[in-house]
């Protein structure tokens, strides 16, 4: 695959399915776009079909079209200010081709109706890396061009100097947000962004294959390694492309997410701890990396050193994978009608490692709403972010667009639970177990720290360096980055 930096966020299942059909030649681009635009209704179909392990999405042909505002259950909060009517703000949300855009437009229409504030939706970059670079350029240029930004969960430390403190804005509901997210978004006592939707790494497995080989869902990495090898050995006879375990090993942010899961679950620390200690150079992290490097060329092909989420997804839905690590979006995507594994997909928490402090660990992802200090219309911008992150809006975003909420009460909403069963089933992963990348202690240096981490880790995976050498290099490099020069 070409090296594209992909955002670590949810890809809508229906779009993913359409994209896959498109790539594999089953449908044309036009058809893909059509199907993608229908995705708004897809999530509800999923609800009707229920069941975590057997969920399957309805055929695209049979899905009623829901375009524009029709079908969106967005509820406008009652406490929005109405004295700012006529103010016009600009917000960067999804990218130009994003399937959530019709939902965004519907939400904006409701917001304008309630407050009189006009919102212009500005498309952002698709790749999170490009997006961050552009945001930084905006801030460096002290541009008042944009008022509201959608920011990744790992950016608060980077964009904090340009953030309006939103503590006041959500003071009434702050206790309802997932505490880990609030903590993640709080820099030096101020809330730099409001949590909007969330993500976490999950382990996918093939229920039919586990049954066939008489195995259970692995709870430790070693068990996963053995089970994957067993299934792969058995399947290779009939399928030469079979892969025991698929994950993301390319040198990009996604590898930081994978690597963090390996080391945290092995008691190997958090790269940089909350107090700023650089803890990466430890035996348990080395062991975790060596274990991962051992997968390459055994249960995972060499090509994994260039894999991103899409490669995992493509191989999984083609029926070539026994176990896979991916974000929640793959659940709906792999259960879509066109998927060869629909109905045979199971999801669980990622396995534990061994040694002292071993635990289950899933890397936390997700997006937040941010208001720029360079904005000249901060009050109106704040109202918009409050609206977007409110319970009534998150509920709709979960039901109709299958984005995992950040407000605890929304997890308990019966409509959300029936529309997206995996959200409530894996609730503990989202609400408790997810591990934040060290973006808070590294602050504005996070992007560089992560780059050092994934570049060195990628070198371990492709065999050009040893795990021990890599963690030593990481330690020196991160120390250099944090020196402030």
């Amino acid at each position: 695959m070409a090296r594209f930096e992909n955002p670590v966020s949810i890809l809508h299942p229906r779009v993913a399915a359409a994209r896959r059909d498109f790539v594999s030649g089953r449908i044309t681009r036009r058809e893909m776009l059509f199907r993608a635009s229908m995705a708004g209704a897809g999530a509800m179909t999923l609800a009707a079909l229920g069941g975590l392990k057997v969920a399957a999405q309805g055929t695209p042909e049979g899905t009623p079209a829901a375009t524009g505002e029709v079908g969106y259950s967005i509820q406008v909060p009652t406490d929005l200010r109405t004295d700012l009517g006529g103010t016009s703000i600009r917000a960067v949300l999804a990218d130009a081709g994003n399937v959530d855009n019709d939902w965004h437009d519907a939400a904006i229409a409701k917001f304008t109706e309630a407050t009189g504030i006009i919102v212009e939706r500005v498309p952002g970059e698709q790749s999170a890396t490009d997006r961050l670079q552009n945001y930084r350029q905006q801030f460096a240029a002290q541009s008042a061009d944009l008022d509201v930004y959608q920011i990744d969960v790992i950016w608060p430390g980077i964009i904090a100097p340009f953030a309006v403190d939103l503590t006041e804005a959500v003071s009434a509901t702050i206790g309802d947000y997932l505490p880990a997210l609030v903590e993640n978004n709080t820099v030096e006592g101020s809330l730099v962004a409001i949590p909007w939707y969330t993500d976490a790494g999950l382990l996918y497995h093939r229920t039919d294959l586990l049954e066939q080989y008489g195995l259970t869902v692995p709870t430790t990495w070693d068990e996963l390694t053995t089970s994957a090898q067993t299934i792969q050995d058995g399947q290779l006879a009939t399928n030469p492309n079979f892969i025991g375990f698929a994950w993301q090993g390319a040198a990009y942010e996604g590898l930081t997410c994978n690597g963090l899961e390996w080391q945290v679950s092995n008691g190997g620390g958090n790269i940089v701890e909350a107090d700023g200690t650089i803890s990466i150079n430890n035996e348990q992290a080395i062991a975790a990396f060596e274990r991962a490097a051992g997968w390459v060329n055994t249960i995972t092909p060499q090509g994994v050193v260039n894999w991103q989420e899409v490669d995992t997804l493509n191989n999984f839905v083609a029926g070539n994978v026994a176990f896979a690590r991916n974000w929640p979006y793959m659940f709906s995507a792999s259960n879509a009608a066109a998927s060869t594994v629909a109905g045979n997909v199971g999801v669980s928490v990622l396995p534990m490692g061994s040694g002292e402090g071993a635990r289950n660990a899933a890397t936390l992802g997700g997006w937040n709403m941010f208001v720029s200090t360079f904005s000249t219309k901060q009050e109106a911008a704040i109202e918009y972010t409050r609206f977007m992150a409110s319970a009534g809006v998150q509920r709709s975003f979960a039901i109709e667009k299958s984005h995992t909420p950040t407000l605890v009460p929304v997890f308990d909403d019966p409509d959300v639970a029936s529309a997206q069963p995996f959200i409530s089933e894996l609730r503990d992963v989202f609400t408790g177990g997810a591990v934040a990348r060290p973006s808070t202690p590294t602050g504005e240096n996070y992007a560089e720290v992560s780059a050092v981490y994934y570049q060195q880790l990628n070198a371990v995976l492709n065999g050009s360096t040893t795990a021990a050498e890599a963690v030593a290099n990481m330690e020196t490099d991160i120390d250099g980055i944090m020196s402030g020069l």
Partner: protein
């Protein structure tokens, strides 16, 4: 100024003819000939294949672009990639517009500034002349990255971040030195009598420049203009750094991060369609102005 002069061309022909006397067809000679033509064919393929391949990929559906084994001749033709590239969603059209605005502006400004400076440097005697010439010339060796950060500050202070002005302004650093140098040589090479007769007739030096020398320098102006255009059209680093929206982003930046409709798509068909489109004007320029471009490129290299 050295476009391919007639004298050099003739000398070359002489040379070629003189060392190729008629010989008999021997096995060795046939082998030699075969090898020679094989090399020629290889060279054509080597230089043109990537572009031809891009074109073929741009008219094939994406499903065929990811096929193994590779489909060499497109079985199904499609214009969908071009339709997408020229649709509003791709963001390519504004980029094309920005590229055109930037490139034409750069050409006009560098020729206006460059020709005027070149006349002064080439035909007027004044104190500080070589200082000016060398200052401008030294800009050629300048790595763009050396001023990336600080030029960003200048752009911000001038309040032209994310506008075409930022690019027009910064591109002059590439195009101006070259224009000044080439045109200075051009003016210098003109016979002094031309201007002298005008001056004797009482025309001011500026009039002599404007009415007599400038029209004569037209081939030089076209050559430098073409090269400035190509440089501005192709520039990447400054465009990547000084712009970040449809308002000013140029085609190289858009193509470098061109992605499809969904997050995980690698839309080779659309990338190739955009690549073919953005290169087309350049290929046309090359075809039409081949001689002038080669002349401009090699100017100086064969001086004295």
């Amino acid at each position: 100024m050295t476009t391919l002069s007639a004298a050099a061309e003739e000398a070359r022909r002489d040379a070629v003819q003189s060392y190729k006397p008629k010989r008999k067809w021997t096995i060795g000679r046939i082998l030699n000939k075969t090898l020679f033509w094989a090399l020629i064919v290889f060279l054509f393929t080597y230089t043109l294949f990537p572009y031809v391949w891009a074109f073929l990929s741009s008219i094939r559906p994406n499903s065929a672009n990811g096929q193994i084994p590779v489909q060499y001749w497109p079985e199904n033709l499609t214009w969908e990639h071009y339709q997408y590239v020229f649709s509003e969603r791709s963001g390519f059209l504004p980029a094309l517009r920005n590229s055109a605005i930037v490139s034409f502006s750069v050409v006009i400004i560098s020729i206006a500034f460059g020709a005027s400076a070149a006349y002064a440097l080439g035909r007027l005697r004044f104190r500080g002349r070589s200082f000016v010439l060398y200052t401008i010339l030294s800009m050629t060796t300048f790595p763009a990255i050396a001023i990336l950060g600080t030029l960003f500050q200048v752009v911000r202070q001038a309040n032209i971040y994310d506008t075409v002005f930022a690019l027009i302004f910064s591109y002059l650093i590439f195009t101006l030195p070259f224009t000044v140098w080439t045109l200075t040589n051009f003016f210098r090479a003109m016979p002094g009598e031309l201007e002298e007769s005008a001056l004797v007739d009482g025309a001011s030096p500026f009039r002599a420049f404007w009415q007599i020398l400038l029209p004569l320098a037209l081939p030089g102006l076209v050559t430098t203009g073409l090269l400035a255009f190509i440089n501005a059209w192709n520039e990447f680093l400054f465009a990547l750094t000084f712009t970040n929206s449809d308002r000013a982003r140029t085609t190289p930046v858009v193509i470098s991060s061109f992605s499809g409709n969904t997050q995980f798509d690698v839309p080779w068909g659309a990338i190739m369609a955009a690549s073919v489109t953005v290169t087309l004007p350049l290929i046309l320029l090359v075809l039409v102005f081949q001689r002038l471009i080669i002349g401009g490129l090699t100017a100086g290299a064969v001086k004295g």
